[in-house]
Amino acid sequence: MSERASTIRLNDLDLNFSKEIKRLCGTDFHTCLQCRSCSGGCPFSDHMDYMPNGVMRLVQLGLKAEALTCNTIWICVGCHTCSIQCPMAIDIAAVMDALREKAVSEHVDIREPDILNFHREVLNSIERYGRTHKLEIMLRYKLKTRDLISDWAVGMKMLTKRKLDLTPSKIERIGDMKKIFQE
């Protein structure tokens, strides 16, 4: 965080951004009073560049570029530990969802591209089969990230323990997935 600019320039504030995120996530992050309960409880805050309360502040102020390019939004897994601890009842995980979606649609620099690659492979699998085919998701993910070596042993163990099906389980009315994914 220390590497980041410490000056907030009023001209850089985008208050429409703040409104747009509020509309997307349906929760009022303007009530955040910076108590940091969320950040104290977050199991993954050690790996985030901004703490969750910091992200709330960025969105309140309309610091769009900072909010969309931080790694926090990708490290957050949506476990809702923060959401249940927030004394102002802000659904912090929903704010993170909205920011991720915005980061993707605005084609900003994604700080954790591998995590996004994984999410995309899961969605591709659901589009193809209506369900997730884990073996294929993992293989495609590994090809995309050009890393076939790490986790090889884990994968083999899972195969021998029959935890990975070789063929996908498919829904019957696959046309329904086309309906969902065409937009």
Binding site: L24, G26, T27, P43, F44, H47, I75, V77, G78, C79, H80, T81, S83, I84, C86, A89, I90, D91, A93, A94, D97, A98, R100, E101, V104, E112, D114, I115, N117, F118, H119, R120, V122, L123, I126, G130, R131, T132, H133, K134, M138, Y141, S150, D151, K157, M158, K161, R162, K163, L164, D165, S169, I171, E172, D176, M177, K179, I180, F181, E183
Partner: protein
């Protein structure tokens, strides 16, 4: 065991139980049957969208959950065993109840009106409705002499919008105490397992998982018992400790206590073999 009058529920297995955690699926159906609950699989169910859909595309996430809701026959409770699937389904129902545009889209896409009265329950909700004591008194059970730590992961958390849905904290301890197991307290009962970060950032998940597994061992437990298939997989896959303690699905232990004979195919699927422990306790011998 004598037959108990059956309650019928719609059952949403979800992708994890249908594939990587088949032993969870089979033992769940089995223990429900022993409790007089018939699980009727939701016909042609699709993935709830998992973490990935709501992470990057809220509309796809909502549509995927809505399709499942539209498949549920009216008047029959919809039960999911995966905490994440349950949350997605409940979230979609909450959205549909409060958003007319979402209801219109639902009607247009699935050609059926939205049923606001559909009951959506996690498996814990079913357990709560079962009166275990008379069932055990009339049918008997196999006492399980094990000390365990309950692992809920993030499943007891929910966003503010779903605050009025039941909270099941302590349900595994209460239930399993009836079957002679001894719960121990520990620091990690509600610590998130790291879920999908396990794929792209194992460097974050491995130390988390090791801390959880170490915490369980230090508490003096024989095993961890969890009710989430994702947690079960992450703990097994990412643990790098030399002597990891076994992790059971809640449903496996229930089925064992109810005297199942169908467990042969369950424990061999665990990455951390629980069979030596079971053998030492004189369980699951056949």
């Amino acid at each position: 065991m004598s037959e108990v009058p059956a309650i019928e529920v719609s059952y949403f297995p979800g992708c994890s139980l249908a594939t990587t955690a088949k032993e969870n699926n089979q033992s769940l159906i089995e223990c429900c049957q022993k409790m007089g609950i018939r699980m009727i699989e939701l016909a042609d169910w699709n993935c709830c969208g998992s973490s990935s859909a709501h992470s990057i595309h809220h509309q796809i996430a909502l549509d995927l959950a809505c399709r499942n809701l539209s498949l549920a026959p009216p008047g029959r409770t919809l039960v999911a065993a995966c905490p994440s699937c349950t949350l997605r389904l409940k979230h979609a129902q909450h959205r549909l109840k409060n958003d007319e545009a979402a209801r219109d889209r639902y009607m247009k896409m699935w050609g059926r009106p939205f049923d606001p009265d559909l009951q959506i329950r996690h498996f814990f909700g079913l357990m709560e409705a079962v009166d275990l004591e008379p069932l055990l008194a009339s049918n008997g059970y196999i006492p399980i002499d094990m000390r365990f730590v309950p692992y809920y992961g993030c499943m007891l958390n929910r966003p503010y919008a779903l605050r009025s849905s039941s909270n099941y904290y302590g349900i595994m301890e209460r239930t399993l105490t009836n079957l002679d197991l001894q719960p121990l307290s520990w620091a990690y009962a509600s610590q998130c397992c790291g879920t999908f970060l396990t794929v792209a950032r194992p460097d974050i998940v491995t130390p988390k998982v090791n801390a959880i597994m170490q915490g369980a061992a230090e508490s003096g437990a024989d095993c961890i018992i969890t009710a989430c298939a994702m947690c079960h997989m992450n703990l097994e896959v990412r643990c790098t400790l030399k002597k990891p303690i076994p992790i059971f699905h809640f449903s496996e232990i229930l089925s064992l206590a109810f005297g199942t004979s169908r467990h042969q195919d369950w424990f061999s699927r665990h990455l951390i073999d629980p069979r030596p422990l079971l053998k030492s306790k004189g369980l699951a011998a056949s």
